[in-house]
Amino acid sequence: MAIPDRADERRGIERELKRGSLELIVLHLLAPGEAYGYEIVTKLTERTNGALEVTDGTLYPVLYRLERAGSVTVRWETPERGVPRKYYRLTAAGREELRQLEAEWTTFTQAMAKLLRQDRETK
């Protein structure tokens, strides 16, 4: 069996972390009100100065998943000029999902921070 490359392994961890947090990110960005796909993509880049670099191709399937799960409702609107836009809005279930994911995320990061701090102190 091939031994996985260290850099590969790290990228793998990063990918897993991102996958776990993507839904939370999208739900959070939709919390203030409805938005369309392109808006969410650009908002994410702006807010994080590109640190949370999520490609466009990763975001749309997440929106699709959320729609299928009933966390968001959608509405199509055609602006006077240009192509129709698909607007997403959180449902009550979506807000509940956001609240839970947020709580889980906070618990996890606090526990991690605590653990890492402890290990530094005992060194």
Binding site: Y38, T58, Y60, Y64, R68, G82, V83, K86
Partner: protein, 202 residues
Amino acid sequence: MMTADEYIAIVIDRMPVDTPMRRQIADELRAHIDERTRQGHALADVLQQLGDPEKLAESYVAAIPLDVVSFGTRAAAKIIDAMLAIVPVAILCSVLAPKDIALPALVVGMGLLACPLFMFYTIIAESRTSQTFGKRLMGTRVVREEGTRITIGQAIVRQLPWLLQIFWIDAFFALFTERHQRAFELLSKTRVVSVSTQEAVS
């Protein structure tokens, strides 16, 4: 270079035809590409941001659960399909075969006619619509292990056990493998999954 329409066509083509909101996905991607290019981004960069169309299709269909189908349901679907091939051949033979033909010869003859018909039909139906008639009736469909539509090549590999006369051994595997896959399904990286009720609605 790939155009936006070509890119979207690949993404949509890789999704099983019964994927919910297939048209809407295409419209949204078109709107996205349109918006990005109007903001001054080069089309090549926009498509690169969206990634490999095959992978994008996989990410979309990952939202659709792939539920394992019981051996009994699969067998029932197969029997229905087999009947579909055998009945017309039997009728044809009863009309055309000479009256004095020996029974074993008749059975072998029918098998030689029905088997290719059955294989050909299954390959075409599974690669185009993910379902044969029997699968449709039993509420099952065939997909790649990633959930996307199977290719014609995969559809052919799935039917090889008939050609090689090892169908029973191959089917036997489905009793014991984790996802009830036949040996040639493991080989072709395809699966038979149930059509979820949620999907039937949308």
